[in-house]
Every structure is written in structure tokens, then in C-alpha cells.
């Protein structure tokens, strides 16, 4: 049944979450830990923190693409080796309270991991996952979702979306999966009115107006590719310290390393997050390194996200404008500014002094 969605009190949506927990689902939601906002599995809906909720320190990608995970177990028996696939948890998980940019980040992970050679581990977790997004009622200084095709109330990729309003919370199910998630509770909720949604739309437009960063055009992808040999990369890249924080906090960065960890009897082949900012990311065993210094590594990061990826994946950037890398870069590198500087082939502007 097509509805206008619902108008909920905070108590109502929290008790809905409580119900999901009781039904045995794993609920991952924003919480506050050591003064940081983080996504974490919760045991009670009361733990979920949505007040003054800016973006979490880490993106929620780790719940689909863990920081480190086993791909294979091996065990030695004389000259023989036995292999075993890791078991996968069948528990359903609800990712609750994701900002629309982080939901878009999951879409980029889908592009990478559910392509031609679909990753069985990611795919399994993705199937177990339902996404409840939380529209933004304000933007932070580093936010630029609208510059990369997003919006503070984008619904793409969400199964359910919750919209905070001054007096109430609006909720709508966007997919059959979302309908199913609210099925047990919706009968007790108050339907929202067309006026409620009109006001929500007004709120979205208001938030968008506060995002000042200018749009990055998808038509720039071929031009950016041509900047490969431009001196600007040397200039910008020299500032990069190669710490890798940008990749670790990024909701769409998906590069990984694979290593064996074990002892003389047995071990695990692990996959772990990695970053193109690291020296050894591309270093051959011979010592030859195609990206031997920081400038080509920084260029790789930017061009991958804004040129190579969109040219390959239907014009979507591999950046969702969450702003985490801007906030956390120790030397203030600003990917939005960099892209603009690169297409204008000029000197980097404000923010890059």
C-alpha cells in the first residue's frame, strides 16, 4: 500500500528500534563513545544518539567491509595443507541513522564489490543488511554532498528514511525491504500529511543552501584524466604526509591488502583496509615503484575518485561529499578544492595556501 509515510514521536521510533532488537536483529547505530560519534552495535534503543548529530568519526562501511576479515583458513598436516572457508554470520543487521552521504558510500562499495567478480563476503553481508537513513537538518562546514550529486535528504540506497522535524519525526519506507522492517509497528503510527512532506522538502532546500561548496561536474572526468602530467600534482602532493587517514575514514574507499597471519601449524589469510597513500601500496618486490613518491600517490587518490571511477561506473564519483577527509587531514588537503584546481589547471585556491 502506497502511503504518505508516518509522523512519529521520538519515543515511537525508539520503541520500533527496540522491537527490532527484540526480534533478534543486530542494530548498528550512532552512539557516543569517548566524546566521539561512532557507529556501533547497540543493545538498547536508548543508546542511539541523534542530537546534534554531525557525521560520525568513521563511516559505517566497516559493517559491510570490515577493517580486517578472514578470507581463508589454512592448516598444515605434514606436506598436506587443509583449507577452510570462513563461516558467515546469518544474522540480519539494520544500519540505522546513516546520513544520506554514507548511504551513497555503500552504493560505491556495491559498485566495487558486486561487479563482475562479486565478492562473496561483501555480498553475503549486503544481503543481510537493511538501511535506515536519517536526513540531515543541518550541514557542517566540511559537507559537500550537493557538489557530488547528493542531497541532505537523498533516498537512493535507503530502505527506510527518517526525517527530523522540529516537532516530530517523519518516516517513510522506500523499498519492500523497508516496508517489511516497519510492518510490525506501523499500524500504531500516525500517518504523515502532504503538508508534513512539503515542510520536509523546504527543510532540505534550506540545508542545501547552507552548503557552499560549488558543484563538481561529471563532465570533468576526461579533462581530469588529462591533468596526469600537470605540475599541480607535484605541488599539492608534496603536502601529503602519506598518513592514509583520508582512505580509512572514507565511506567509499575500498582498496585492501591481503596477508597471511599465522604460525607453524595454521593461520588465516586476511583482508585489511589499505590506502593508496602508502609507499608500499604499489611497490614491487624488486624495489621498483610506479608511485614512488607522495605526489603521484595523492594524484591517484583524486583521479581514481573523480576521473577513473566515473569514466568506468556511469559517471558516479567515488566521493560522496561527507567531508571526513577534509576535517581529518593533518595538512588540510581539501579534495573538493583540489578537483577544482586541477580542472582549471591553475594554482590551488583558498584552503591550499
Amino acid at each position: 500500500m502506497k502511503t504518505n509515510g508516518w509522523r512519529l514521536t521520538e519515543t515511537e521510533w525508539r520503541s520500533w528500534l527496540e522491537g527490532l532488537l527484540r526480534a533478534g536483529k543486530s542494530v548498528i547505530a550512532p552512539v557516543e563513545e569517548n566524546a566521539l560519534r561512532l557507529f556501533s552495535p547497540v543493545t538498547s534503543a536508548a543508546d542511539v544518539v541523534v542530537e546534534n548529530y554531525s557525521n560520525t568519526q568513521w563511516s559505517p562501511k566497516e559493517f559491510l567491509f570490515p577493517r580486517s576479515e578472514p578470507l581463508l583458513f589454512y592448516r598444515f598436516r605434514g606436506d598436506e595443507t587443509e583449507l577452510e572457508d570462513p563461516g558467515l554470520d546469518d544474522k540480519e543487521q539494520v544500519l540505522f541513522g546513516l546520513r544520506p552521504c554514507d548511504v551513497a558510500g555503500l552504493g560505491r562499495l556495491d559498485d566495487i564489490f558486486l561487479g563482475e567478480s562479486a565478492d562473496p563476503f561483501y555480498e553475503h553481508r549486503r544481503k543481510q543488511t537493511t538501511v535506515v537513513s536519517l536526513a540531515c537538518d543541518k550541514a557542517e562546514a566540511a559537507c559537500f554532498c550537493t557538489a557530488v550529486g547528493g542531497s541532505p535528504a537523498a533516498t537512493e540506497g535507503s530502505d527506510v528514511q527518517l526525517v527530523p522535524r522540529a516537532e516530530a519525526w517523519l518516516l517513510q519506507a522506500l523499498t519492500p525491504r523497508g516496508e517489511e522492517l516497519i510492518a510490525g509497528s506501523a499500524s500504531a503510527w500516525t500517518p504523515a500529511s502532504a503538508e508534513d512532506w512539503r515542510q520536509a522538502e523546504e527543510q532540505r532546500l534550506g540545508v542545501e543552501k547552507t552548503i557552499e561548496r560549488s558543484p563538481l561536474s561529471k563532465d570533468w572526468a576526461p579533462r581530469l584524466e588529462e591533468t596526469f602530467a600537470q605540475p599541480l600534482w607535484e605541488k599539492l602532493g608534496q603536502r601529503c604526509l602519506g598518513c592514509g587517514i583520508c582512505a580509512y575514514v572514507c565511506p567509499s574507499c575500498s582498496c585492501f591488502d591481503m596477508n597471511d597471519e599465522g604460525n607453524a601449524l595454521c593461520g588465516t589469510r586476511c583482508r585489511s583496509w589499505d590506502s593508496c597513500a602508502f609507499t608500499r601500496f604499489t611497490q614491487h618486490a624488486s624495489g621498483h615503484n610506479p608511485r614512488a613518491t607522495r605526489p603521484p600517490r595523492y594524484r591517484q587518490r583524486v583521479l581514481h575518485k573523480f576521473s577513473y571511477f566515473p569514466l568506468e561506473h556511469g559517471e558516479r564519483f567515488m566521493c560522496v561529499g561527507c567531508g571526513r577527509c577534509l576535517k581529518l587531514c593533518p595538512v588540510g588537503l581539501d579534495i573538493h578544492q583540489t578537483v577544482r584546481a586541477a580542472v582549471s589547471k591553475g594554482t590551488p585556491g583558498e584552503g591550499h595556501q
Binding site: 598444515f76 583449507l83 563482475e116 567478480s117 562479486a118 597471511d260 614491487h284
Partner: protein, 281 residues
């Protein structure tokens, strides 16, 4: 995996059936399937590569050095350089290694029918030429004259010494061996000189022939210049890219040269393609 999709990263278990020393640090292994026969549907094309693993040390990319005409097993030639290759060298006959693949594109051997073939390899780069050369020898009538130029830093570093004798004894095949100046021994009867220079001295005429060349980056750079100078069309000059890889299925993000993912779009490239790629290899 609970009835899920097959684990992309689970290798086939192989047994080291034979090991031959090419040089003090290069070894060729013959790997047989642990269960004695290749799994159904296991096939590869000449020039494809695999991820070879030593459990406990990790995985390493090598080209499959035997062509499908010599199937039923897998062969690789590797130089002991890093962690995995050192561990691999420490394994004995009968011990287990992992193989996953084949991955990547391949040499368009069928398109080369009727043409002369020039194989120019430097050091361990020769390994990438081994499979297409053997295929051409196995289908000798399909191809014209074959030139093999195998170069190494020193006489001791020359790979496939024994096999070169066989190749040289095949009708229509010329084998030229060269070592870098200073790398020769008193009894050395091959050429002395850097590979691109020796190649230029040989002065082969392009005549529609295919030149396949592999070796260290610096040799490759000058080899491509030499080929261009001698009038070889860049579409008929073939090499392979060797970027670092982990997943081999286009996900881990490190083998790319611009938009070109070596694991998926390579490793085989023409000099014409290479000219259009950014200098990121």
C-alpha cells in the same frame, strides 16, 4: 560458505612435482593438482597469470609459463626477491602451494598465424615469453621465422639455458644470447651488449612480424625505442605489465595504470596501448 557464492580467494591446492634451477636465484616449478588431475573446466590461455601462494607467507603473481598445449599441470618461473618468493624457494618437492587463476588477458596467438615472431626477454622477463614461445613451437607450422633474443646481466643470470639449446635446434628458430658488458665469462660464446643494442645490431626487418618483449622497466623503455626506430608498428609490438597485485580480480586498487587495471585489462598490452596510458607502471 553456507551455500553462498564460491570463495573467490580460495586457491587450488597444488603439489610441487619438479623444481629446476635456472640461475642461482631463479627457479622453475612444475605444479600438479593435489588430487592428481585438473578440476573440470580448468583451462587457461597463453599469457594469463595466476596468484601462487605459500601458506603462511602470502600470494605472489607469476605468469603461467606453460602453454595450454602442454596442460594438465601448471608451471612458473620465479626469482627469489621478496617474502613469498623466498618462502616458495624454501619448499621441497611434494609440498603444497596454492594457485588461483587464471587471470587477465592473453597473447592473441591465433591472430599471429603466418607471421614471423620475435621474442626479446631480459632476465626474469623471459618467463613471460616462455608460454607463447612454446606454443609457437608446438604449432610450428602456424608461424614463420622465430627469433629469440635472451639477455641477462651476467652469464650466471641467464634463464632457460638448457631449453635454449632445444629451441635453437628447431627448424626456422634463431636463438641469440647476450649478457651486459662485464657480465661475460672467459668461455662465453654469446653476444655481449645491452639487449636493445644487440637487437638493433641484429637489425630485423619488421615485415609484419610480431615483436614480444619483456624485461625490467629500463630495458623495456629502450627496447620499445629500438623497435620504433627499426620501423616496427606499435600495434605489432607486445609487452606485459607487471604491477603489484593483491586480489587479481579488479578490487584491491593497486595494479591500475590510470583506468587500466593490469589484472583485468592486462597484463598483455601493445606498444600502441602503452603510449596512451599514463606513466604509472
Amino acid at each position: 560458505m553456507n551455500g553462498q557464492r564460491e570463495n573467490l580467494f580460495r586457491p587450488q591446492l597444488m603439489r610441487i612435482a619438479q623444481a629446476s634451477e635456472e640461475t642461482p636465484d631463479v627457479r622453475t616449478l612444475r605444479l600438479e593438482f593435489r588430487d592428481g588431475k585438473a578440476p573440470p573446466k580448468f583451462e587457461w590461455r597463453t599469457g594469463q597469470f595466476g596468484q601462487f601462494s605459500v601458506f603462511g607467507a602470502g600470494e605472489c603473481v607469476f605468469t603461467i609459463t606453460n602453454p595450454p598445449t602442454r596442460g594438465g599441470h601448471i608451471q612458473c618461473t620465479f626469482r627469489q626477491t621478496g617474502k613469498v618468493t623466498s618462502a616458495l624457494r624454501n619448499l621441497s618437492l611434494g609440498q603444497s602451494v596454492g594457485f588461483r587463476g587464471p587471470y587477465g588477458n592473453y597473447f592473441p596467438m591465433d591472430d599471429w598465424r603466418g607471421r614471423d615472431l620475435l621474442f626479446v626477454g631480459g632476465g626474469i622477463g623471459m618467463a613471460a615469453l616462455h608460454a607463447p614461445l612454446q606454443l609457437a613451437l608446438d604449432r610450428r607450422a602456424d608461424y614463420g621465422q622465430i627469433l629469440v633474443l635472451n639477455g641477462a646481466r651476467t652469464v650466471a643470470d641467464m634463464v632457460y639455458k638448457e631449453e635454449m639449446k632445444e629451441w635453437a635446434n628447431t627448424n626456422g628458430v634463431t636463438v641469440v644470447r647476450t649478457v651486459d658488458p662485464g657480465g661475460e665469462t672467459p668461455d662465453w660464446d654469446g653476444e655481449v651488449g645491452l639487449i636493445p643494442n644487440v637487437f638493433e645490431r641484429l637489425n630485423p626487418k619488421p615485415n609484419g612480424s610480431i615483436a614480444i618483449t619483456c624485461g625490467p622497466p629500463i630495458m623495456l623503455r629502450f627496447m620499445l625505442l629500438a623497435l620504433e626506430k627499426l620501423g616496427f608498428s606499435p600495434e605489432r609490438v607486445i609487452t606485459t605489465l607487471e604491477n603489484k597485485m593483491k586480489c587479481a580480480v579488479g578490487q584491491c586498487g593497486r595494479c591500475n595504470v590510470g583506468r587500466f587495471f593490469v589484472c583485468r585489462d592486462g597484463p598483455v598490452v601493445t606498444a600502441a596501448q602503452l603510449k596512451n596510458l599514463p606513466a604509472d607502471y
